[in-house]
């Protein structure tokens, strides 16, 4: 197959008439050495997902002819893979779109441009292949091309002599070369992870290439429909859809941290703050600052204690603690089997009131059933609606529970009516468990307000020892005023003195609480209660007021702390990762405990092209020592090469050994980073940053093998090889600088030799843009 292509080369070069197409396109197709029939067959196979279709040439030709007729050329056809670009271009073997004068212009230009290449490079299949295409007015442009070829195509396209250009998305990005028409080969592309639809932003970028300023009035965009017509909604979304949200691509790297650490001027935290990732959080900062200042300026209300020394803070803390204890204890008590026995209808309980500053005495009217999972309890609300004198404390009490109060004051006298309205249908059935009153049901009897509510068992504060007789049926199913007043009176009787409750069941003795922890908790709670009662504030008439004040202050303090936190560096999104990375750097002695950059850190600062930690460790472990310059540069190629899936290179034992060493280093570093909670997977880390696909190629190149031969060694496209080697020169320079920091002249010389070895021929041919044609 190679001889075939080689043989085809001179023929193509000789052919002034581009109408002899077959040999030439065969020449450039060396990477995929198939003839055209094979090509179209491959195309069919490739397209088999979207159904079989006609061969490429018959597919593109009608379109091109049509465009030519309507004078809509030049046209850029966007295909989303290098392979498809090449194949499409090759399939146009019958087409000749240029006039004779254009042909000679192209020919002259190409000869001049490629004259800077050395002998064998001039006969590279790609160089020869593209010339025959160009002469017919067809161009190809993608990342796999040699830089010089790419530049020739770009320049010729800008001159307007290329009529049809098959290109990947790259052409829409860096190069300013608009066309009259843009054609989309497909509306789906593979973005390295998945096959997906084009995004609106991408579409606009590419479609925007249609129409040349000053030349065309209208640019035309054509979307090819192969076998299936795209959905209208998809198209609409594509063309006028919302652009992709901008997302921060700010990556925290070790190099960045080290560079910032060695200057006093800027803190790393400042850098993080200024990144786009933090933009939204930081945008609100001035407002927050203002708010904070405002809050700080706000005079805090002082609590003037009437009993002299204010111990309210202490009291409040104790109350909070006691509350927490109580919650855990009651919860446990309610779970206890023994307590269930006590919670029968008629049992007196103390219930937590909604306004939380006082507790209410009540009686269980109904225990939970399958239908209603709550206790129905009749509680005394403490004050009488009809009584004129309302105690100030309880007045405040009601103010806090808004809806409660409304119902309270609006309908005091209309109670009868309400009753009639709601309870006219009196059930005659006995103890059927039906509740015929609306909960909560409020009323007053014998000078005392009462309420029937449904409560969760956690609201029950304590269970009392005493029990009263109640008429469940009359209370719930057939509400009668007399029964209520009787019950209320009984309840009042149980209250020995206005505010005190009947004796509660002892959790340990009566309820047989056994859990050690709970018992301890219970004792702590009791102690706290005792302490609270000893506190001066206990029983103070202003207690409620002060407690409310305290609550407010506490809230204010919490708010203040939250604001302060948000404004501090700790709130930065990347702060945990930053801390992790700092720890890693400390661990491997790149910086000392005072964050001063050490020698290793200074070496790492030089490493910009490859992963800094791997490069530095590789250097300091002297892994390049026993390697020849060619071998060293070959191993270094792993740091800069970026394609994932390549053919496996065949390595000399020495190189294979070196490869294993550097891979192990990467794994070690990966493990270390994971230890310090940097989100890194060792295997992936090593694989991401070390790609050995071009080791053999670079080794051969550094030894002086011609470019045409090294291309045979791999399936990586020529353009990528060139790019990698150019970057490799940069890496050599960095390693050289690192060697001078360490003071090792041998390594310095080795890197210089390596750099000279790879700096030759087509790889380092000067750009046409810079030198001019």
């Amino acid at each position: 197959m190679k001889p075939g292509s080689k043989a085809g080369t001179p023929a193509a070069r000789a052919g002034t008439q581009g109408k002899i197409p077959d040999t030439s396109s065969r020449g450039r197709d060396q990477k995929n050495p198939k003839n055209h029939h094979a090509n179209s067959a491959a195309a069919v196979v490739q397209q088999s997902t979207s159904g079989p279709r006609r061969s490429e040439s018959s597919f593109w030709m009608p379109l091109i002819n049509n465009l030519l007729k309507k004078s809509l050329v030049p046209v850029v056809i966007f295909c989303f893979s290098k392979n498809r670009c090449d194949k499409s271009a090759d399939s146009m073997f019958g087409a000749d779109l240029t006039s004779n004068s254009e042909k000679s212009e192209i020919r002259l230009f190409c000869d001049k441009a490629f004259s800077r290449l050395k002998g064998s490079d001039r006969n590279l299949p790609q160089v020869v292949g593209i010339q025959s295409l160009l002469r017919r007015g067809i161009g190809v442009h993608h990342a796999g091309l040699l830089p010089i070829v790419k530049e020739v195509v770009e320049m010729l396209f800008c001159r307007g002599v290329i009529k049809v250009l098959f290109s990947t998305e790259t052409f829409a990005m860096g190069v300013n070369a608009p066309a009259r028409t843009v054609v989309f080969d497909s509306l789906r592309k593979f973005d390295g992870k998945e096959h997906r639809k084009l995004l609106p932003g991408e579409y606009i970028q590419m479609a925007g290439r249609a129409g040349r300023r000053g030349l065309d009035n209208i640019g035309t965009v054509i979307v090819m429909c192969r076998d299936e017509i795209p959905e209208e909604s998809d198209l609409k979304n594509l063309i006028v859809g919302k652009p992709t949200r901008l997302e921060s691509q700010f990556r925290l790297t070790y190099t960045m941290i080290l560079h910032l650490l060695r200057v006093e001027e800027l803190k790393v935290e400042d850098m993080l703050k200024r990144s786009f990732a933090e933009f939204h959080a930081q945008k609100n900062l001035p407002e927050k600052e203002k708010l904070l200042l405002q809050m700080l300026c706000q005079p805090t209300k002082t609590i003037d204690c009437i009993k002299g020394e204010p111990t309210i803070e202490e009291y409040y803390e104790m109350a909070l603690e006691a509350e927490a204890h109580r919650e855990s204890i009651t919860e446990a008590i309610m779970q206890l089997h023994s307590s269930q026995q006590f919670l029968t209808p008629g049992r007196l309980v103390v219930v937590k009131s909604k306004s939380d500053d006082d507790h209410l005495l009540g009686v269980i009217v109904k225990t939970p059933s399958a239908a209603l999972k709550q206790y129905i309890i009749l509680v005394l609300t403490g004050d009488c609606m009809s009584s004129a004198i309302v105690p100030s404390s309880s007045n405040q009490n009601e103010k806090e529970s808004g809806d409660f109060k409304q119902g309270y004051f609006v309908i005091p006298k209309g109670k009868r009516g309400m009753e009639d309205e709601y309870f006219s249908s009196v059930s005659t059935r006995k103890s059927s468990g039906v509740i015929n009153i609306k909960l909560p049901y409020k009323g007053d009897a014998s000078g005392m307000g009462f309420e029937v509510r449904a409560i969760e068992n956690k609201e029950i504060m304590s269970i009392c020892t005493s029990k009263i007789k109640i008429d469940q049926v009359r209370l719930l199913e057939d509400p009668s005023q007399t029964v209520y007043s009787k019950t209320v009176q009984m309840l009042i009787k149980e209250q020995p003195d206005g505010n005190k409750y009947p004796a509660a069941l002892d959790a340990i003795k009566d309820l047989k609480m056994k859990d050690m922890l709970l018992v301890e908790n219970y004792h702590a709670y009791q102690r706290l209660l005792k302490k609270m009662s000893e506190n001066k504030c206990h029983g103070c008439i202003k207690l409620k007021e002060h407690i409310a004040l305290m609550k407010e202050q506490k809230k204010y303090k919490d708010q203040l702390n939250e604001l302060k936190y948000q404004m501090s560096d700790e709130a930065l999104q990347q702060m945990p990762e930053f801390q992790g990375r700092i720890d890693v750097l400390k661990e491997i002695h790149y910086i000392d405990s005072d964050l001063v950059v050490q020698l290793k850190g200074r070496v790492a600062c030089e490493m910009n092209s490859g992963e800094e930690l791997i490069s530095t460790e590789c250097l300091l472990e002297n892994q390049l020592d026993d390697l020849e310059p060619e071998e060293a540069v070959a191993i270094m190629s792993a740091l800069v090469f970026q394609q994932r899936n390549t053919s496996e290179p065949s390595l000399t034992p020495k190189l294979a050994d070196a490869r294993k060493r550097i891979y192990d280093t990467a794994i070690r570093l990966g493990n270390l980073q994971r230890e310090f909670k940097v989100p890194v997977d060792p295997e992936e880390y090593a694989r991401d940053h070390l790609k050995f696909g071009l080791v053999e190629v670079v080794y051969e190149w550094a030894k002086g093998t011609p470019f045409a031969d090294i291309c045979e060694l791999t399936d990586v496209s020529e353009g990528l090889i060139v790019r990698t080697i150019v970057r490799l020169d940069e890496t050599c320079r960095e390693f050289r600088n690192a060697a001078s920091i360490m003071g090792n002249s041998a390594l310095y010389k080795k890197m210089e030799t390596a750099s000279n070895a790879i700096k030759r021929d087509i790889v380092f041919a000067a750009s046409l843009y810079i030198t001019g044609i």
């Binding site: 060695r262 001027e265 002695h589 950059v597 050490q598 200074r602 020592d625 003071g743």
Partner: protein, 384 residues
């Protein structure tokens, strides 16, 4: 008269003082510093003092240009000093002392792990030999000699203080105690108007209005150019001309790289800049940043008033400067804490500013430092 500073390396960082006092030492410490000792005969009772106070233009301190520390110790002081120095010597970590090498010393290495020879090492008949005096450092496979008393060697990001010696096209040349002059380009300097723009020919002509010859300025090391010249940058409000203060020149190795080199000592209203190159600036505090604009906006305040430094501040500057002098004469690493501590000690023991350079305070400082290090060591071992 100076004892050669490139003598025996001493990891504890004060060995040269011992040398300075060689004549009245009895026979303590074994000294095999023969190779490069080029002292001009026995030194009389005179401490080597590398620090010299420079006259700063427009500064309030019109001190003499050079001033060496002259000391005459009486018998008691001599004994006390010797004891203190001896203690300091014994406190030095033994490991560091063991790693110290002089020129031509063989550095022991394990042949199996192929080592990477760094600075100050050379291969001689298959042995690794030191070509510098210093301490052997090992980082992974790298073996190099860290010099203890070499000339200043710049690193990127260092903060340095330097003196303008020449104005060349688009650049100033600065003396920074390096083997060559540093270059500060006009383009790597924020202009007084604070606008980011291209530098024009007019700017070039006005360069003298920014810095003149003999101005003392503060800048940061930007890096080495391809031709090997050292470039500085001063793209920040805090860099720039230093006025109204004293420049002290101490050996560069006494200043260690730290996170902070700019220090504002609020208690004294004094700025202290510890340049990595051994140039130390003690001067009146200047407000940097946005506040300067506000001050400029303020009208009035005649230049006389503006240039006036209160006597109190001047005294503080002198006191701190003298503290630096004493410490550098003793060869202690200069940290801001130590400088403040020394200045405080002089205040608390009622030592006049000029008496700070006298024998008594000198001995006192040495003793204090010996005590401090002993405490530190004890605390450390206690923690263990």
């Amino acid at each position: 008269m100076r004892v050669s500073s490139e003598t025996r390396p001493n990891p504890s960082g004060f060995g040269h003082v011992l040398l300075g006092f060689l004549p009245f030492r009895t026979s303590a410490l074994p000294l095999h510093a023969t190779a490069c000792y080029s002292g001009e005969g026995p030194a009389p009772l005179r401490a080597q003092c590398a620090s010299s106070a420079y006259l700063c233009s427009r500064g309030p301190q019109r001190a003499g240009a050079m001033r060496d520390l002259q000391l005459s110790l009486n018998q008691t002081q001599r004994v006390r000093l010797e004891a203190a120095l001896h203690e300091l010597q014994s406190l030095a970590p033994a490991a560091a002392a063991a790693a110290a090498v002089t020129v031509a010393d063989t550095i022991p290495v394990n042949d199996e792990d192929n080592i990477l020879k760094g600075h100050g090492t050379s291969d001689q008949d298959g042995e690794v030999v030191a070509t510098l005096c210093g301490v052997v450092e090992r980082v992974n496979k790298l073996v190099y000699v860290r010099t203890l008393r070499a000339r200043y060697k710049p690193e990127v990001g260092d903060i340095i203080v330097g003196r303008v010696i020449e104005i060349a096209p688009k650049r100033w040349r600065l003396e920074i105690n390096f083997s060559q002059d540093a270059v500060l380009m006009l383009s790597s300097m924020s202009l007084p108007d604070g606008i980011q723009r291209r530098r024009t020919a007019v700017d070039e002509l006005n360069m003298r209005s920014i810095f003149e010859e003999n101005d003392v300025i503060c800048a940061e090391v930007r890096g080495f150019q391809h031709d090997g010249s050292l470039h500085l940058q001063a793209r920040s409000q805090k860099y720039g001309k230093l006025e109204r203060g004293q420049l002290l020149i101490v050996p560069a190795y006494l200043v260690k790289r730290r996170k902070q080199h700019f220090h504002h000592l609020e208690r004294y209203d004094v700025d202290l800049i510890l340049g990595c190159n051994g140039f130390i600036w003690v001067g009146e505090h200047v407000v940097v940043g946005e506040n300067t604009d506000k001050i400029e906006d303020k009208p009035a305040l005649s230049s006389e008033v503006e240039n006036f430094t209160p006597l109190e501040t001047r005294k503080h500057i002198c006191r701190l400067a003298n503290a630096v002098r004493v410490l550098s004469a003793l060869g202690f690493t200069l940290t801001v804490e130590l400088i403040i501590e020394t200045a405080e000690a002089s205040v608390s023991s009622n030592v006049e500013i000029n008496a700070m350079l006298g024998a008594e305070f000198f001995v006192h400082t040495a003793e204090a430092e010996a005590k401090r290090r002993a405490d530190l060591l004890r605390k450390k071992s206690g923690a263990r």
